[in-house]
Symmetry: C2
Subunit: 302 residues, 2 copies
């Protein structure tokens, strides 16, 4: 099954959505209008064997990741977390103590980021451990940054480092880039024109930004910030970086935002036929990266 | 594992929640304050083999139920649906066509109830089909009705009929009692003092209302509205009725609300030691119903 086809099928109905829907499915978060307030919404799944491994990972880190993954989506909109809801389907043999430890980790992580757990649902099932976290956020004075809006000539930037997130444990311990996003987006000079968080892999996620902005992207191998001596295929394809990828005016790129290093890794360019993402290798050759990442394996956002 | 213990563990932290949380975990929906708006939130899971059976049930009805179960929670607060988010973990062999049919059913049901699908997440997994639906709702001029607030001497009422929801297919085709709840709650004479929706079974769900209101309940076998010649054990224990159970002033019980029949089935009484739910049989004997239902089997709300 091609997840992308299913997503296209869902997006095809976005034009039927009522006026209260300000950001339809297809961005890092959706948004609705509630009175004079804008409310941002997203939901993510964490499944044992796909996103985490119960055999090698503490319940504390699993519960934490279930919440922080969603907070990375909040960062991608430059928004402020508001509240969370969680579901768990626990294997029959899971046990009371471990269930409590898992919920405590989700509750405490949510509380730490000022987005309290306000509800949820629990079931016992025959499949693997399955968690979902729904997160609500608010713009709080900063217009949400979308995946669309990139301009030709914009530089492409990322926070932090890329690749080898799984072997290094980064995918469990990462800090969602909430403050960096707010700092960048609140200053008109540094406000990203388009932004996405890197969960499925740079090749794949940047392609979404290109599609939404109807532009192509060229990346430079020698400019990628490599984590743990990752090679370029790992940096563009591993996924689970939970960093921000954004495009902005080349004149005003800061070296860091809220203490997080920012690297310029490429440029937005005109579309030839359809939006593509390419990488210029050290030897000058170019590789097409379209959808390099998790897209067709396991998981995607609606 | 006793789900109830885990829920108590979670509720024990409710007093640490910040002021923006207006209704903490433990009611049909949680609520937060957003500007001058109140936002109600709930999430529910639908798992193949527990809540639905893919072998015998159309994808259309499964997708519908995933949404209408949550709408029943909205009805229990007398609120108005606003928006939905959905996740799906699909078995590897599920296929594109069936995935589209399932999402179409969720999307169309959500749209039909004016709560558009604004986001979600999809994964492919090794377990059974797993869906979650998060629902947002607004009070829209009617103060939410809680599980607490019942008075001694209140009559206990239910909408519709009870029992045999699975064999009759009611659990798939039920109509969430949204309009009945609004009609009752908008009139000060008929406004329920406390309300819950019946998903886990009357014995179990009414116990939650009793606990929240710190009162006991006595039901009368001869007054229960039996679906499909259910017996009393089926009516109080089958679950999946998706009807409303509420308590109100005995003087002003209407025969119906928004075309839905209302039956008086019992009375709220003083607590002896802890809140209990009892049934008075036809022969005058009394049976304790505490937690009769699904509670310890499969599923519960946080």
């Amino acid at each position: 099954m091609r997840e992308l086809n299913l997503l296209q099928h869902i997006y095809a109905h976005n034009d039927q959505l009522p006026g209260l829907v300000q950001i339809p499915p297809g961005d890092d978060m959706g948004a609705i209008q509630l009175g004079d307030q804008t409310l941002l919404l997203a939901v993510d799944q964490v499944i044992d064997g796909i996103h985490v491994d119960l055999k090698t990972t503490s319940l504390q880190r699993i519960g934490r990741k279930a919440v922080t993954r969603n907070l990375s989506d909040v960062a991608a909109m430059a928004a402020v977390p508001l509240a969370t809801l969680a579901t768990a389907t626990l294997p029959r043999t899971f046990g009371q103590d471990r269930a409590e430890a898992l919920f405590d980790a989700m509750r405490q992580t949510a509380q730490q980021y000022q987005c309290p757990l306000v509800g949820g649902d629990m079931a016992i099932g025959d499949g693997p451990l399955h968690l979902t976290v729904t997160i609500l956020a608010k713009p709080d004075g900063i217009e949400p940054v979308l995946r669309s809006g990139s301009n030709i000539g914009d530089v492409i930037c990322v926070t932090g480092q890329l690749g080898r997130s799984l072997p290094t444990g980064h995918h469990l311990d990462f800090l969602p880039r909430l403050q960096a996003a707010r700092t960048l987006a609140s200053d008109p000079r540094t406000r990203p024109h388009a932004m996405i968080d890197l969960s499925d892999g740079l090749g794949c996620d940047l392609k979404h930004l290109c599609d939404a902005s109807n532009l192509s992207a060229i990346l430079f191998e020698n400019q990628l910030p490599y984590r743990d001596h990752a090679n370029w295929t790992e940096a563009v394809g591993n996924g689970e970086d939970y960093e921000l990828c954004f495009t902005m005016d080349p004149q005003s790129v800061p070296k860091e935002a809220a203490g997080v290093r920012i690297s310029v890794i490429g440029q937005m360019i005109e579309v030839k036929q359809t939006p593509t993402v390419s990488l210029q290798r050290l030897d000058g050759s170019r590789v097409c990266l379209d959808n390099r990442g998790w897209e067709h394996q396991d998981q995607n956002h609606v």
